[in-house]
């Protein structure tokens, strides 16, 4: 079981690198959907021996919300604003990839310093969640299209979700669900604002948002 979990986590990180490296928005969203679905399966492997109903509910909700509804919504958004690709990223693809790889190394170093109080089924969970979070950050900072920034935010949330899976046994279900729902609504609101930006500016390049400054 442990080997499967490790394999899945490595796959998640590699998909993260794919997201960071791709410039076509459609591809980004598709890979994000795939990553979220795989991530939603992690609880099944991690708690295989001690499966409970609410863990299944959280995992299924994550798969449905992040793997299906959210990507479809994002696809609707890019159809509406008719952008296809990230033409001129703020930080180039090569640099982004290099930074992401560095972030993976950094996450492993950081995770080795922090001792998790109870034994966990895979050593890879914490470093991979940290590296997903940092990759999300890189995407938010490095891209100029509003949709890519939303994907970056979702990637960051995926990292946090991965960390939260570790605590699934200890946190009340209500809180888990509340957080899941909150994130979902957040992304929807972002999508709507993206549409507002495109209506007003005729594109979704956040580089156009520079009138307010001191």
């Amino acid at each position: 079981m442990n080997i499967w979990l490790d394999a899945i986590l490595i796959l998640v990180i590699i998909l993260g690198l794919f997201i960071v490296a791709s410039t076509r928005l459609g591809t980004m969203i598709q890979i994000f959907a795939m990553q979220s679905m795989i991530l939603g399966c992690v609880p099944f492997f991690m708690y295989a021996k001690e499966m409970e109903v609410y863990i299944m509910i959280v995992a299924l909700a994550a798969i449905v919300l992040r793997g299906f509804i959210m990507p479809n919504f994002l696809f609707w958004a890019i159809r509406h604003v008719s952008v296809r690709s990230e033409v001129s990223p703020f930080i180039g693809v090569g640099t982004t990839l290099l930074l992401s790889c560095l972030s993976i190394v950094g996450s492993f170093l950081l995770a080795s310093k922090l001792v998790f109080p109870v034994s966990i089924s895979s050593e890879l969970v914490i470093p991979s969640s940290f590296s997903l979070i940092i990759m999300g950050f890189i995407l938010i900072v490095g891209r100029t299209k509003a949709i890519s920034q939303v994907v970056g935010y979702l990637l960051l949330e995926n990292g946090i979700f991965l960390f939260a899976i570790l605590l699934l046994k200890k946190m009340p279900l209500l809180v888990e669900m509340g957080i899941l729902l909150d994130l979902f609504i957040a992304a929807v609101v972002m999508g709507i604002v993206v549409n507002n930006i495109s209506d007003e500016f005729n594109n979704t390049d956040t580089m156009a948002l520079t009138t307010l400054k001191d």
Partner: protein
């Protein structure tokens, strides 16, 4: 409708002063002195703003106004949730929900600038909350061996047993996350944009209520740190952030061309003062809590006055607003009062609370903090005075501006009421308030 809801809310809060409710919903909800304090501030300010909105939306029955009022009520209820939650997860859900429900409020006018402000607000605050969420999970990890819950009460009892490295990590992440929402520099960049582009009553609510709710979440972290014996660690971060905030506010207030942005940076300054106060130990905590009340009322006055100004001059530029005192005497006097209150001049309550924090700094031998505190306060006073006095004196640039709109009663009374509250707090702190302040400061180790 809005006014009715606001009145009902205040009535409920008032009854909580008399009879403290018990914790309910398996301990998820409950009201302690800190929560009650923030909740009352939120309630009073919201009531005043809803009075004000009656005059602000004169012909207010079309569809977009209904949506506006709906989101305003959502905003109020989520802020209430933040003040009464006794669980860190629920607290974060509340804070995130306040962010989301204020998005349509900030973007109400739907101009290019307001969309830009909304996008920045949304992006920066959501990332901040995501970091705070990570901090909350770290807190859960810190207590995984013994506490096994995120209920504030349980955490406080078992705080000594928390694993230290994870606790420190979680404090850092929570401070950065909630500090973003509270507008502490260097995470403040959303604040001036959102405050200047939102309709003025909304700016008042953002500045007076929302920032205080974020402040409350930082206080909750402070409670846990205090119980775990990690107060020095917590204080040092807060003092650093506070001094940086005051410095940043001073740099951007000098020569500011937009009067709403000026008041927004003044919010950054006052949040810095609050952070410094909390970092300075028992006396400082008392001062900071008092300052929180004063600041909320003052910011309410300041932003509502800018609402009046904007109605009359249709401009946010300082250079286009001249001769306020001559053309609109009441607004002019209010503007003067808000300037004096914002910069903490004696008859107003802000003076007392700023003085208490200064006393805390000196008596705690934090001379450098005291030095920077006084320096920035004085410089900011000069900066604001320069801007406001230019606006008040002289003759209007455009003569047609005058007489076009009169100052309506519902846009004056709420401001007057808030000014009276600040004035009273400057002379005399009523015993019931003093009691609750003592109790609240006691919760934080004051």
């Amino acid at each position: 409708m809005l006014l009715f809801a606001a009145l009902l809310h205040s009535a409920c809060v008032f009854s909580f002063w008399r009879f403290r409710p018990l914790t309910s919903l398996n301990g998820f909800l409950g009201l302690d002195a800190l929560g009650l304090l923030v909740l009352s501030v939120v309630s009073v300010l919201f009531l005043m703003v809803s009075f004000y909105l009656m005059g602000y939306f004169k012909n207010g029955s079309d569809f977009s106004h209904k949506i506006f009022i709906g989101f305003l009520l959502f905003f109020l209820s989520f802020m209430t949730l933040v003040t009464i939650s006794r669980h860190f997860g629920l607290l974060l859900i509340g804070i995130e929900a306040t962010t989301l429900s204020s998005v349509p409020l900030i973007n109400f006018v739907q101009t290019k600038q307001s969309i830009e402000a909304t996008w920045k607000f949304l992006m920066i605050c959501l990332i901040g909350i995501a970091l705070a969420l990570l901090g909350t999970y770290f807190l859960a990890v810190a207590g995984l061996n013994n506490v096994q819950s995120l209920f504030i009460d349980k955490l406080l009892i078992h705080a000594k047993e928390l694993s230290l490295p994870w606790l420190k990590m979680s404090v850092i992440f929570l401070l950065i996350g909630c500090g973003t929402k509270m507008g502490l520099a260097p995470m403040h960049t959303w604040l001036p944009d959102a405050h200047s582009q939102a309709p003025s009553p909304i700016s008042a609510l953002l500045s007076g209520c929302l920032l205080n709710c974020a402040f409350l979440s930082i206080l909750r972290v402070g409670q846990v740190c205090h119980a775990a014996g990690q107060t020095p660690f917590f204080s040092s971060i807060l003092i650093l952030l506070g001094v940086i905030s005051m410095g940043v506010a001073f740099v951007f207030i000098l020569g500011q061309e937009d009067y709403k942005r000026m008041f927004a940076y003044s919010s950054v300054e006052h949040m810095g003062i609050l952070a410094i106060g909390i970092g300075l130990g028992p006396i400082g905590i008392y001062g900071a809590l008092l300052h929180m009340i004063n600041n909320a009322m003052t910011k309410g006055v300041a932003f509502l006055v800018t609402g009046n100004l904007y109605k009359q001059y249709h401009s946010k530029k300082v250079s286009e607003v001249k001769g306020v005192l001559r053309e609109f005497p009441i607004t002019g006097i209010f503007l003067l009062a808000s300037f004096l209150a914002v910069s903490g001049v004696p008859p107003f309550g802000t003076f007392i609370s700023e003085l208490i924090i200064l006393y805390a700094a000196i008596s705690g031998h934090h001379y450098w903090v005291a030095f920077f505190y006084c320096l920035f306060l004085a410089l900011i006073f000069i900066g604001i005075a320069d801007i406001i006095l230019r606006m008040i004196q002289g003759r209007p640039v455009d003569e047609t501006v005058s007489k076009s709109s009169r100052e309506s009663l519902s846009m004056i009374l709420p401001i007057l009421f808030l000014i009276v509250i600040i004035l009273i707090l400057g002379f005399y702190i009523p015993p019931f308030l003093g009691n609750i302040l003592q109790k609240a400061a006691g919760l934080l180790g004051g």
